[in-house]
Structures are given as structure tokens and as C-alpha cells.
Subunit: 209 residues, 2 copies
Amino acid sequence: MLGTPITIWQDKRREVAQAAILEAAWTVAREQGLASLTLRQVAARVGMQAPSLYSHFASKHAIYDAMFGQAWRSYDEVVDALEPRLPSEPRSALKLMARTFFAFATADLARHQLMNQRVIPDFTPSAESYAPAVRVVARLREHMQRLIEITDEDVDLYVALVGGLADAQWANDPGGSRYARLLDRAVEMYADALALPATPAGPDSQEAR
Amino acid sequence: MLGTPITIWQDKRREVAQAAILEAAWTVAREQGLASLTLRQVAARVGMQAPSLYSHFASKHAIYDAMFGQAWRSYDEVVDALEPRLPSEPRSALKLMARTFFAFATADLARHQLMNQRVIPDFTPSAESYAPAVRVVARLREHMQRLIEITDEDVDLYVALVGGLADAQWANDPGGSRYARLLDRAVEMYADALALPATPAGPDSQEAR
DNA sequence: GTCTATACTGTGATAGAC
DNA sequence: GTCTATCACAGTATAGAC
């Protein structure tokens, strides 16, 4: 009994250690800034010496890479939770999706810089870590396609619009709501450009708050 | 004769040296990446030792700061040159302004990162270097105000929209035109939201190419 | 004032003992 | 796997030549 092979046990141990390192890395990144993260700080937080991290990650960039994958997988899960709550009325759905992305992007600067900007010199996510990001955009397209007739260019414009607002929020009014206030208006503008029907008036037709 | 005081001569020399350092810094930033710029590389390019740069700039951040000011002053001059060519027809003018900014932003990654992103850890532009950036936005607002009735929020939305497209261009299709192609459409969408009159048809009514 | 020489501290990364 | 020791390179402080 308990015939779990030792190799799996070791893999588990390994995964636990890696998870602890990544959690420490997130904490340090949030406290010191993403680009100011140092291996010595991460190592100290998990009770190691800096070189020991190389037993678990090939380089500092590999840690960033794993964090990048985590962040997008995390947002993919947010989209999972959102899916059943998405209204069928197109404008309301677009607004809710935009608000969800915006809230995620403005909740954590380090995460936003890693996911959506190129803050780390010479860091490019690996294909494996980039996959969840691709998946999120693909699902966005599917959702939008389900609501309305839409082209790839339409999706690009939507992404640039909502992403531009999130970037501007961090750059010009961090912690405030100067650009958050413009979100619904931006989506209405976008929906008008796609000639979507206006949201019908009525007690239950408004988007979720 | 030639009674120029020596102090002015020295100031000139000083300015020349500073300009040479900044020009070298731009070259290195474009070649190696903005954040990978090192003082030793900059110094080598102007025939100095790295510590000698401290005779002209208080720190590496001070060099970035001067570059930041240069970049925005440079764009302010672009706006100067644009001003007499701006059509009075609102949509065409908005398009030309958007294209001008987009072209400037996508012409030089290092410059764009310095001007519009927060790529350098712990670097915040000084009030003096930030002034030209403020001036550019103020002039944008004046130009738009001259064309149409507009609020601060309208300007914010315009900036986020055009900036979002430029960021997306660098992030997802550097060197390509995937988002550049969406520029005119984005401005039309924005103009529709402001209920601007449609561009009148006619041989001379189209925006400048 | 401007520059060089030297050196201090902190970084990511590697080698090898245990 | 984790350690210690060490390396190459970074920004930058200081001292002193000119």
C-alpha cells in the first residue's frame, strides 16, 4: 500500500519548492518593483542562498517566465468564472469583459507590467508560458463572436482600447479612477462603431454592477 | 575684442560635452535596449572613462532624465511643424494628429519606452524634464478645443486610444502595421462618439496623406 | 572643472564540496 | 539539493593629476 513511486514523491517536493520560490518572487516583485527583484531577496524569503535557486530555475528570466505563465493562467481562470455570468446582451457583455480585464490589470502593477508590458530587458516569454495568453485572447474572440459578427481587426481594436485605458491608468493616475471612469463610455463608443443594437431599457437589462 | 567671458565659453564647452554624452546614450539605448544601457558603454563612445560622466550628470538616472526631456521637446517640435498643416475639418485634423503621434511612437522603441512607459526601475522624470510632456498634452487639448467642443475626459480617451494602439503595435507586431491599419478607424469611432460632423465629400476635403 | 585610477557594493551566474 | 567561494559586470564614491 501507499505504493506511490519515489520519483513522483520527488516531483511533488520539487513542485512545492518551485511554488514557494514563485510565491516569494511575487511578494518581492510587489514590494520592490518587478524589475528590482533580486535573486538574493527571493532566496532569503524561502530560506535559501541565492545560488540554490538554480536547482529549480535555470535563470532569473526562467523565474519571470514561470510568473508570466502563472499570471495569464490566473486570468484565464477569472474568465472561467466570468463565463456563466456573461449577459447575452452584447453591450452589457462587452462592458463586463472590459471591466473584468481592467480590474485585473489595475489590481497589481508588477503583474500588469509582466503580462502586458516589456519591463524586463531581454525577457521574452517562452512558447509554453505564452500559451495561456494566447488562449485568453482566443477565448475573448470566441466570446465576442458568439455575441456579434466580428473580425480579427475588431478584436485587435477592442484589446488596444481596453489595454490603452489600463496602461494610462497606471501611468497617469495610479490608484485613482480617472481612466476607469471612461471604461463604459469607451465600450459604448466601440459598440456603436460595430453598429450593435442599443441595450434595451428595462429593470433587468442593465449590465451587472 | 572677442570679449566673450570665459565662463560662457566654459558653459558652451559644458553643453557640447553634455550633448555628446546624450547622443552617445541614445545610440547605445537604440542598439542595446534602453534598460541595458551602461555608463561604461556610453563613456567609451565619447572617449571617456565611466566615472568621468559624473562631471556632467549626477547619476545614470540624470542621463535618462535629460533624455526624457529631449524626447518630449523633440515631439513638441514635431507638433510645431504640424500646426500650420492641420486641416480645419475636425475629423481630418484628429486623424493627422493621431498618425503623427503614432509614427513618432513607433519609430524608436527606446524613445517610446522612455517617453510613454515605465521601463527603468525607480526612474521618475524630474519636474523640469516632465514640463515638455505636459506642454504637449496642453497643446493637444488646445488644438482639439479649437476644432470642437471638448472636455478633459474626451482628451483622456483620445490619448488612451491612440497610445493603446501604439503600445499594442510594439507589443504584438513590432515593425509591422497590424495596429497602424486601425488608426483611422479608431479616430472615426472616436469622432462618431463626439458626434462630429462627417468629413464632407470633395476633392480637397480628404485628410492629408 | 574635467578627467583618470582605484575601489566598494551589489548583481546574476558558475564550480565544486558535501 | 544546498551550500561556500568566486567571477564578471554593474553603478558610483573618492582621491588626486592636470
